[in-house]
């Protein structure tokens, strides 16, 4: 009997407690920086595309929502001819981000992607590319890749040694 009255009293006191509700459209929740939301393609510090079209993200994707076609420009630099993510299939697992060798594909804390038309959830490359370096500022894949592209020969990048001269016996 006493416990029933106590229960009712304690419930009544909840009137004066702080509300647990976040009134969403007006009030936004603070998302952690590592929240896995919308997928973006980031750029180099010199604003070149980071993606080299290696297909690892498409291979890692458990729901096969990524499709792309790699191609090469005249300087031997690979890039995706098209890059398409079907967000109506995407499960935001982040495996593509883990698989990416060039930090190009990244998941950002944004989930507000509602659409009335399902087809609008298919994002093309121009929708995915952002003018930012994302989570890895200053990272430039071609500077550390040991690969010859335009403006940089083998061994000229950061932390790179000149290629070994195979015709010489000297160390």
């Amino acid at each position: 009997m006493i416990s029933i009255i106590r229960t009712m009293w304690l419930t009544f006191l909840h009137m004066f407690h702080k509300r647990a509700t976040i009134q969403y459209p007006e009030e936004k929740i603070k998302l952690p920086a590592r929240w896995r939301g919308r997928i973006v393609l980031t750029r180099d510090p010199d604003m070149g595309e980071r993606c080299v079209g290696c297909y690892l993200c498409a291979a890692a994707c458990p729901v096969d929502c990524i499709s792309l076609q790699a191609t090469e420009d005249e300087h031997g630099r690979r890039y995706p001819e098209f890059f398409r993510i079907n967000f109506s299939r995407c499960i935001f697992c982040g495996y593509c981000e883990e698989a990416c060798p060039t930090y190009a594909i990244q998941l950002i804390p944004d989930f507000e992607m509602g659409e009335y038309n399902r087809q609008n959830l298919v994002y093309e490359k121009q929708d995915l590319l952002i003018n930012s370096e994302g989570k890895y500022p200053g990272y430039n894949y071609y500077n550390v890749a040991g690969l010859a592209v335009k403006g940089k020969d083998k061994g000229e990048g950061a932390n790179e040694l000149a290629p070994v001269d195979v015709h010489s016996l000297l160390p």
Partner: protein, 315 residues
């Protein structure tokens, strides 16, 4: 006021307040659960009432092919009719009463017992296991709680010497009956909750065990009827408690009598909702045991002691 006007006012008021109570209940429950409740549609979310009603109207009004059609349609009407009939004898303030029957309390008890038919017939006509189980529980609960609901009132009737609710309220000019009849008040309140099968005594519907109990098969406006009946039932019990134990319209003169009545009534509606927010549902056998083994002896004891004191004072 002319009787017809009173009837229209009472009927209109009840049918307007009943859906409004949906909003009140949802907001209050939310407040007690650290939420906001419906606050989007209209000011303070009040238009949710309209949305709910419209939704009920436009839902498919479906009668299952295995149901007993006539009884199935009849059942939801019974609950609303009986509860509305009970309001005939409720004195809202001096003069605002549909009929001042000299057997008012008995009429109320009779009508609220008739409400049990709605549950039984609804559950039976649905031809569904859960509905039938709910109906059986509902019938047993209502009949057993009816017994000492009546007995707990008899203390008040003994002190007043009248079954008329108007006389009962007038007899409380010096002291509200909640003080001399505190036990009766508690028993009547508990029985009233069980009578309207509100939580925590919502054993006939018991969502977690019986889906929705006796109204599992109902949809659209027929379900709405059960719903409205339940809310009017809450109001009825609140009105009765107010009249019988809290001095009805009596109160300090700075507010009109009808306002005092409404205040007391809504305080009890709030209490009903608080009960729902805080207490878990007892098991069916616990409910029956509590009724027959505790409340019934207590109410008889209350009656005997009251009668004894009255006799002692007279002699």
């Amino acid at each position: 006021m002319s009787p017809l006007l009173i009837v229209i006012c009472v009927l209109g008021g009840l049918l307007l307040i009943a859906p409004g109570l949906i909003w009140v209940e949802r907001r209050l429950l939310a407040v007690w659960q650290d939420r906001y409740g419906p606050n989007r549609a209209g000011p303070l979310g009040l238009l949710v009432v309209l949305a709910d009603t419209l939704k009920l109207f436009f839902k498919e009004d479906w009668i299952p092919p295995f149901a007993d059609r006539k009884v199935f349609v009849l059942a939801p009407a019974i609950v609303v009719i009986t509860v509305l009939m009970s309001f005939v004898i409720v004195p809202f303030s001096p003069g605002i009463i549909v009929v001042d029957l000299n057997i008012g309390v008995l009429f109320f008890l009779a009508m609220s017992s008739m409400g049990a038919y709605s549950i039984i017939l609804g559950g039976w006509a649905s031809n569904n296991k859960y509905s039938l189980l709910g109906a059986m529980r509902g019938a047993a609960q209502m009949i057993s709680y009816e017994v000492f609901m009546g007995l707990s009132l008899m203390g008040v009737v003994l002190i007043t010497g009248s079954f008329s609710l108007h006389d009962i309220v007038e007899a409380q000019r010096n002291m509200w009956f909640i003080i001399p009849q505190f036990l009766g008040f508690i028993i009547f309140l508990i029985a009233g909750i069980a009578e309207t099968h509100r939580l925590p005594f919502d054993i006939p519907e018991a969502e977690s065990e019986l889906i929705a109990g006796f109204h599992s098969e109902y949809s659209g406006m027929k379900f709405g009827m059960f719903f409205v009946g339940e809310y009017i039932g809450i109001m009825l019990i609140s009105c009765m408690v107010t009249c019988l134990f809290l001095g009805g319209w009596l109160g300090p003169a700075f507010l009109p009598p009808i306002v005092w009545f409404a205040l007391k009534m809504f305080a009890f509606i709030g209490l009903f909702i608080l009960l729902r927010a805080s207490l878990p549902r007892p098991r069916y056998d616990q409910l029956m045991e509590f009724g027959w083994k505790i409340l019934l002896p207590l109410s008889i004891l209350n009656l005997v002691v009251t009668a004894g004191i009255i006799l002692w004072n007279e002699s």
